[in-house]
């Protein structure tokens, strides 16, 4: 598991969930329904203004946990298996970044099953 951030391009219908992304020179398709949650931002430390009526996306950041599989340039499935990525879409602006690459085993899913 590594922690860093990288800019990426994501195909995501408005209001929907990501479908496909371009990362490290390759094209990856989302192969399972993603997990999504929000994490708090300490806006009072990072921002200098928070006027009434503004500030969408200042309080929390949306995070997607995507299971992705590399697409074969010829349309055939890559057999390299699934990879789990945490990506975030930054607001305002809407640019996407990868913030975490997971190992094969996913803690969260494991926890879910036992719940």
């Amino acid at each position: 598991m590594g922690i860093f951030t990288e800019g990426i391009t994501v195909e995501c219908p408005p209001g929907g969930t990501p479908v496909r992304l371009w990362w490290r020179g390759g094209c990856w398709s989302v192969c399972d329904e993603p997990l999504c949650w929000y994490e708090r931002r300490p806006w009072w430390e990072r921002e200098t203004r928070m006027p009434p009526g503004e500030g969408v996306g200042m309080v929390d950041t949306r995070i997607w946990r995507l299971q992705v599989r590399k697409e074969d340039p010829h349309g055939l499935a890559d057999d390299g298996g699934c990879l789990t990525l945490d990506v975030v879409q930054q607001r305002p602006g809407g640019s996407w970044r990868v913030i975490k690459i997971h190992d094969a085993v996913d803690d969260v899913f494991k926890e879910q099953d036992s719940a």
Binding site: G15, E33, L35, C36, W37, Y38, E39, R40, P42, W43, W44, E45, E47, T48, R49, M50, P51, P52, G53, E54, G55, V56, G57, M58, V59, D60, V108, E111, Q112, S114, A115
Partner: protein, 1181 residues
């Protein structure tokens, strides 16, 4: 899935929690929902507004509460969580059953010190007592005892708790509420938790519903909720444990809620069937809880106490007719013929209207309360438009004759308006709570409750809590808060640009930007805030107007029938009696009869004065002699009792006093602006006072009515009437429209409409939504009646400017009565009147100004004396035969209530030892009494016998050196044994040694310990300094010519910032220099020059120009101000020729400003330190 109904949302009325107003929530919900629940925290505070908002938005209201659950723990009751409780609508099981159960539940929760209900109480409360069926549904959500047990992946605890709830609650009253705010997986309000709740619900076979636990209508308001979390927990944001985990608590649309539901169902491993079930359960519960405002809440259906409670044998209509007939004979017994017929016709019209609206029992109820108060021997007076009604006059509710004063019933009540009219009763403030208790006794606790009011964030509170959230330094925030002066928090940023007193702060804000971001280049901030001040301004604006808590309304009492407590939840008020969670805006909608019983300090002050007159002059002859009344004056009783209400309204000395403008202490006419107005107007008869009080309002001021009125009155100008038809309407005020009644008659005259229709027109004035329609109707009808375009134009301009302001003549007449009475007392019994004023402190000024006024009037101010002073300010005959006022021991700083009681019980004292033994005072209290000279009489007595020359300073030193008082009763004389009167050996032997205190020191001590300057005026010690600068005294100003440049100085006694035409702010500051008040005006430029001094400084030196305002009036237009105590800053030029700033004539500044000072009295109202506190012109509470 187009329709989603939110079953759990907090409005702004959830104090320190909810962000959005009911209207915002309802509008957001209406986008793709057909109903909305508002479930405020621990109360129905926003319920009525919510129902209104839903009706406006065209959706069904659902009402409920987000209520704390308590449980007996090892240390008593503790809160174990919160649940949502929704009231069922009219078919489940019966109309109003659900809502009544909800009201009782909330009241139960407030009946203990820790708000909340136990599980057992909840289980009992959900049942309708009539049918035994379930009337409420409880939602166990993420904050419930069950939801809170989910953390840490515990298995057993949530199951134990849910089983407990399911077993205790009646079948069909419980659901599980699934909420995901999409927080980090595994954290509270995460989808993981929502899944666990859903699984629990399935396991226990309890239906699950979906909600979003809404706190704000829009996404962008999430940050405001963060700040409220900080304010609620009184901790900075970065130290909060209770901070919402994400900003997802907004009122999401159906699609977004479906996405949440999908996440939960998917992560739980379920399919579309479960999703559909969750969705359907939610819709089903929503349907069960749709409220029919009329059937369930009794929307707009007035309820009054039952006839038998009022002691009526006949129907209310019959009873009202009989009583008014009796009143007719009593009040108008001498009338005959046409005059009597006119009164009878008026009575018929009124009774017909009242009966038609079904308000007979309302009037009888008010009459009952009014009679009850009179029976208690408490002064009372009706105020407001109620004085317009002949019925009120005949029932004895009002003392103003509506026929003689030409008051219109239609202004009070008409068939065109079905809301309950307001009848307001003023009573002695000191008796108000007793009156409330008697009303509860008289009508029964189930029919009466006090009304509440919402206290909301204003600028100062908002900046304090915003600063707290940001973790800013407390002292720094206090400094900023002190500079905020009468503007709403929402315009903070605008104010920073404009207001001189915020100049320093604005510079800090700019400077702070330079620290870590782009800001003004070259502007280096040294405060290290790093932009925090900019954030502070934004967060302050976000908090603006949000409710903080409810408190007892100053005068509202709600009277109903025996169903009242099933229609409003109640909670304890500050005085102990229950108060409704509804405020005045909710009364009409809920059909609640509100009676305003207002405590008026002036009524208490006058009652005190009259009691003092009788105490010193216990016979008719003595009172007549002292007050200069005729020996057979009908208003004096045989024992000397004065019936103020019987005093004739044509007493010349009273009007002389008013015309002198020495009206400090008089009701309604003591403010700087009013003193100026009475000086110009020179009232001669009672109706002049009615006009004076009515003129001193925004409407007449804004439409420039004062000047033409005064000029016509003085005979300088001929009265102008737009049309001869209007002469009868406007003659009493020389062609100027002053009263609401005149507006009504103008409409009626020019359009031919009825007076009640005309009142509807009047109400529309100033309301941009409906005024254009009124204007069109007026123009069309008036043109139809043949009035020329020019006349129509002119009259409409007056009406439009009048707006909805102006004054009801009935109200003016009701106010003018205590105005006249207080002036009468000041003219005839000044010392007793002053005692009443000091005791009850009714006016706008600090008490010390009224002491200065007594000094000016030559009334002896008798110092504190351990034997002569009591616990009240009392009038006292001095050796010279004059009447003075003896200071009260109750005013001594730090003297406890029990010490005061012991002193009074033990009076008189023969020696210091006697005082020590019997009053058992703490050493600091004894020392303070010595410092204030209260022991001087004992001391002097002893000195007279021994020839000691010790002074007060020696006495203070001696008292200070005494051993601390020993507790216990050892030293006390045995009961029944009289203390022997012995000579005060102790004081007689006191050695002289300390230098006597000077006047300045004595006065400083008095101000510290009494907040009064008694021995001399506070300014006296400044005399040499003032003389060296050539400062003019207030008493000398009247002798100066207009436009003379002067220096004046004094103690600030009043500061006002009335709203001005054109938006430019004017600040009025009045200072007292011991010879009287100087009223000064600061326009923009002078405000700029004075900056932070404007509001923060107590002692001021002001340079300005005299402005003559009338034969008896002069004010100062300020040019610049200094802090008198900051001697180094004062403009004493080195080597200046003597008299460099003496009066000299300047002609450069023209008479530029009309007379904004007169706007005082409805604008800012200052607290007793001369600092703004509230607004509104009925400030004589």
């Amino acid at each position: 899935m187009p329709n989603f109904v939110h079953l759990h949302s907090s409005s702004a009325y959830s104090a320190h929690f909810g962000v959005s107003w009911p209207g915002e929530l309802a509008q957001a919900a209406a986008v793709d929902g057909d109903a909305l629940a508002v479930t405020d925290r621990d109360g129905l505070y926003g319920m009525v507004k919510h129902v209104k908002a839903c009706m406006d938005a065209g959706i069904d209201p659902i009402v409920g509460v987000d209520l704390a659950i308590v449980e007996e723990g090892p240390d008593g009751l503790e809160t174990t969580g919160r649940v949502v409780v929704l009231a069922h609508g009219s078919s489940f099981p019966a109309p109003a059953a659900g809502y009544a159960a909800l009201c009782r539940l909330v009241s139960t929760a407030h009946a203990r010190s820790r708000v909340g209900v136990t599980l057992e109480e909840m289980a009992a409360a959900v049942l309708d007592p009539e049918t035994g069926k379930v009337a409420l549904t409880v939602l166990l959500g993420p904050y419930s005892p069950v939801g809170r047990a989910l953390g840490g992946r515990r298995y057993l605890l949530p199951r134990t708790r849910l089983r407990q709830w399911r077993n205790a609650m009646p079948e069909g009253s419980l659901v599980v509420e699934v909420v995901s705010h999409l927080s980090t997986p595994g954290a509270p309000l995460s989808t993981v938790h929502a899944v666990r709740m859903l699984k629990l619900a399935q396991e226990f076979d309890v239906p699950a519903v979906l909600s979003n636990a809404v706190r704000y209508s829009r996404e962008e308001d999430a940050a405001t909720a963060d700040v409220l979390d900080a304010a609620r927990n009184i901790a900075p944001l970065d130290q909060l444990e209770d901070l919402q985990p994400t900003g997802q608590a907004w009122l999401k649309g159906a699609a977004a809620m479906e996405a949440v539901a999908h996440e939960v169902v998917h992560q739980g491993g379920y399919g579309s069937a479960e999703l559909a079930r969750l969705w359907a359960n939610t819709a089903q519960l929503a349907d069960k809880c749709r409220i029919d405002p009329v059937a369930d809440l009794g929307w707009k259906q007035p309820r009054t106490p039952e006839l038998d409670v009022l002691g009526l044998v006949h129907p209310a209509g019959v009873e009202l007719r009989q009583r008014t007939e009796a009143g007719l004979n009593r009040r108008f017994g001498s009338l005959r013929g046409d005059a009597l017929e006119k009164v009878r016709t008026r009575l018929e019209v009124e009774l017909d209207t009242i009966g038609g609206l079904g308000f007979d029992s309302y009037f009888l109820t008010v009459a009952e309360v009014s009679d009850m108060i009179a029976g208690m021997g408490v002064r009372r007076a009706a105020r407001g438009s109620g004085a317009s009604s002949l019925v009120n006059y005949l029932l004895g509710i009002s003392a103003v004759d509506p026929i003689a004063n030409d008051l219109l019933f239609e202004r009070f009540l008409s068939r065109d308006r079905s809301t309950l009219p307001d009848i307001d009763l003023d009573v002695e403030s000191a008796q108000r709570h007793n009156v409330y208790r008697r009303i509860f006794e008289r009508f029964g606790a189930k029919r009466v409750t006090l009304m509440s009011m919402q206290n909301s964030y204003r600028a100062r509170g908002a900046v304090r809590d915003a600063g707290l959230a940001l973790g800013m330094d407390r002292d720094e925030i206090d400094q900023i808060a002190k500079q905020l002066w009468r503007f709403s928090a929402s315009s903070f940023r605008e104010a920073l640009e404009e207001k001189p007193e915020l100049r320093d702060f604005a510079a800090q804000v700019r400077a702070s930007r330079g620290v870590d971001g782009p800001g003004d280049p070259g502007d280096h901030g040294g405060h290290g805030h790093g932009g925090q001040l900019d954030m502070l301004v934004d967060l302050t604006e976000r908090l603006d107007r949000l409710p903080r808590h409810i408190s007892m309304h100053p005068c509202g009492v709600i009277l109903g029938d025996s169903s009242l407590l099933a229609r409003t939840p109640v909670q304890p008020s500050g005085m102990g009696l229950p108060m409704s969670q509804f405020d005045k805006h909710d009364m009409d909608a809920m059909g609640m009869l509100k009676l305003d019983v207002l405590g008026v300090r002036m009524q208490s002050a006058m009652a005190h004065a009259v009691r003092e007159v009788i105490r010193l002059h216990p016979s008719r002859e003595a009172v007549a002699a002292q007050g200069g009344h005729a020996p057979d004056a009908p208003f004096i009783g045989d024992g000397g009792a004065i019936d103020l209400d019987a005093v004739p309204l044509d007493d010349e000395p009273t009007f002389e006093l008013i015309r002198s403008t020495h009206t400090l202490g008089c009701f309604q006419i003591e403010s700087p602006g009013q003193r100026e107005l009475v000086g110009k107007m020179a009232p001669e008869v009672f109706s002049d006072l009615v006009i004076d009080i009515s003129l001193f309002r925004p409407g007449p001021m804004k439409s420039n009515m004062v000047k033409p009125y005064l000029e016509s009155r003085a005979g300088f100008a001929r009265p102008h009437y737009p049309h001869p038809d209007l002469v009868p309407v406007l003659a009493e005020t020389h062609g100027v429209t002053v009263f609401h009644e005149q507006v009504l008659r103008t409409f009626a005259t020019m359009t031919g409409c009825t007076l009640s229709r005309a009142d509807e027109f009047r109400r529309a004035l100033g309301n941009p939504a409906v005024e254009p329609a009124v204007e069109k109707a007026f123009r069309d009808k008036a043109a139809g009646k043949g009035y020329s375009a020019a006349v129509i134009e002119e009259v409409w301009a007056v009406l439009a400017a009048f707006g909805s302001f102006g004054f009801c003549k009935a109200h003016g007449a009701a106010f003018a009565v205590p105005t006249y009475q207080s002036a009468w007392l000041k003219a005839h019994h000044p010392a007793e009147f002053m005692a009443g004023l000091w005791e009850h402190d009714p006016g706008m000024y600090p008490r010390r100004l009224l002491v200065a006024e007594a000094r000016r009037m030559g009334i002896p101010i008798l110092p504190l004396d351990i034997n002569a002073s009591r616990g009240e300010y009392l009038a006292e005959r001095t050796e010279t035969g004059a009447t003075g006022v003896r200071l009260s021991l109750a005013g001594v700083y730090g003297l406890s209530g029990t010490e005061l009681k012991r002193i009074l019980a033990g009076q008189p004292y023969t020696s210091l030892a006697d005082l020590r033994d019997r009053a058992r005072l703490s050493r600091p209290s004894l020392k303070r009494l010595a410092q204030l000279g209260a022991l001087d009489s004992l001391h002097n007595q002893a000195k007279g016998r021994t020839g000691s020359t010790a002074n007060r300073a020696d006495l203070v030193a001696h008292v200070n050196s005494l051993p601390v008082h020993k507790s216990g009763r050892r030293g006390e004389p045995i009961t029944g044994q009289l203390a022997l009167p012995m000579e005060d050996v102790e004081l007689g032997a006191l050695a002289a040694g300390h230098p006597a205190a000077g006047l300045a020191e004595t006065v400083a001590t008095e101000l510290d310990l009494l907040a009064l300057d008694v021995s001399g005026h506070l300014m006296e010690s400044y005399a040499p300094l003032l003389d060296s600068m050539g400062v003019s005294r207030a008493s000398a100003l009247l002798g100066l010519r207009n436009n003379t440049e002067v220096l004046v100085a004094g103690v600030r006694v009043a500061t006002q910032t009335p709203p001005m035409r054109g938006g430019k702010r004017v600040v009025f500051i009045s200072v007292d220099d011991g010879t009287g008040c100087v009223d000064t005006t600061f326009f923009t430029e002078a405000q700029e020059k004075s900056g932070p001094l404007l509001f923060g400084t107590r002692m001021l030196l002001i340079r300005g120009l005299t402005r003559r305002t009338g034969p008896r009036g002069i004010t100062v237009q300020a040019l610049e101000a200094w802090d008198l105590q900051d001697t180094a800053s004062l403009p004493v030029p080195a080597g200046a020729p003597p008299g460099w700033l003496g009066p000299r004539q300047t002609d450069t500044i023209e008479e530029a400003h009309s007379n904004p000072r007169m706007l005082l009295g409805y604008g800012a109202v200052h607290d007793k330190q001369g600092v703004t506190s509230a607004s509104g012109f009925t400030d004589h509470h």
